[in-house]
């Protein structure tokens, strides 16, 4: 059990390390048996090596996280933070998410969940798309992101 300030600091620290693009520093926050759900609803990543690939990919997509106000659970195990996540490559996508991370007694993150839906995703800077057009644009751009995975950096 961590104190509340430590939990909130950790949520901010995760965003800071992601924004700094430091894969190893991000991974230091997680346990070896991490269960990472991003988005919730997709099969979770299990273990630090699986997570390493996901974090490295996010950083390659030039991710930037802007966390809002964190809140904690009363048992000192969880912290939740609404966050705006933007990836700038291969195309700009903005996600409104609520992240919830759970700590173990070792002070490391053992479970992380990122809740975001297709309707929480915005493509580029253009006018807001709606309905089927929005759904198609988001899924096509997510597919482009996945295709870019493992290929040389787009820059």
């Amino acid at each position: 059990m961590a104190d509340e300030a430590t939990l909130k600091f950790l949520a901010m620290e995760y965003a800071r390390r992601m924004n700094a693009g430091d894969v190893e520093a991000v991974l230091e926050l997680f346990s070896d048996d991490i269960v990472f759900e991003d988005p919730v609803g997709a099969p979770p990543l299990i273990g630090k090596e699986a997570l390493r690939g996901h974090i490295a990919w996010s950083i390659e997509c030039k991710v930037h996280e802007t966390p809002g106000r964190p809140v904690v659970s009363m048992d000192g195990k969880s912290v939740a933070v609404p966050t705006t996540v933007t990836v700038y490559a291969p195309t700009k996508l903005t996600f409104q998410i609520i992240g919830i991370i759970e700590l173990g007694d070792d002070g490391l993150v053992h479970h992380a969940r990122a809740f975001w839906g297709i309707t929480d995703t915005k493509v580029g800077d253009g006018p807001e798309l709606t309905g089927v057009a929005h759904f198609m644009a988001v899924t096509q751009n997510l597919a482009t992101m996945v295709q870019a995975k493992g290929s040389p950096s787009p820059t």
């Binding site: 919730v40 609803g41 904690v72 009363m74 969880s78 839906g117 297709i118």
Partner: protein
């Protein structure tokens, strides 16, 4: 499974009904079998009667929620939103003090409680809510004038 927009409407409606102190309307959003945890990590409870009593205390305190933009899980079930709320210190305040969640004010007269939480609802197949969770800790709640 209900789609993302329906779930977002559901959580916004939940907040509107809470602010209107419409407890019957609020319970109308819920399934027959319900569980709730408010705050997460302290009390897990279940049943519509317990949930009604829980909401009635908030309604008595004149709770007003300001709900932020909801987000939907891609599990077809969850919807979450950040909420800031204010309500009268009574009747909930002394219970919070007893649990060690809040410092007792010198006098409860005219005092209010402000807090921030993340509200998480889980909807069942038909779209009725089966579970409510509210995440907040000691540092997310305060007594104010």
């Amino acid at each position: 499974m209900i789609d993302e927009r329906s779930r977002k409407k559901l959580i916004l409606q939940h907040s509107q009904l809470m602010n209107a102190a419409d407890i019957d309307g609020l319970l109308g959003l819920y399934a027959e079998e319900v569980s709730f945890e408010d705050p997460v990590g302290a009390d897990q409870r279940s049943g519509r009667d317990a949930l009604r009593a829980h909401f009635e205390e908030f309604a008595t305190a004149g709770i007003k929620e300001t709900i932020g933009a909801p987000v939907a899980g891609q599990d077809g079930r969850h919807v979450l939103a950040p909420v800031s709320a204010v309500m009268d210190y009574l009747p909930k305040g002394p219970k919070f003090v007893q649990r060690g969640w809040l410092e007792a004010p010198e006098s409860p007269e005219g005092k209010r409680i402000t807090w921030n939480y993340v509200l998480m609802l889980r909807a069942g197949k038909g779209g009725a809510i089966t579970e409510l969770k509210a995440l907040w800790g000691r540092s997310d709640i305060a007594v104010t004038d």
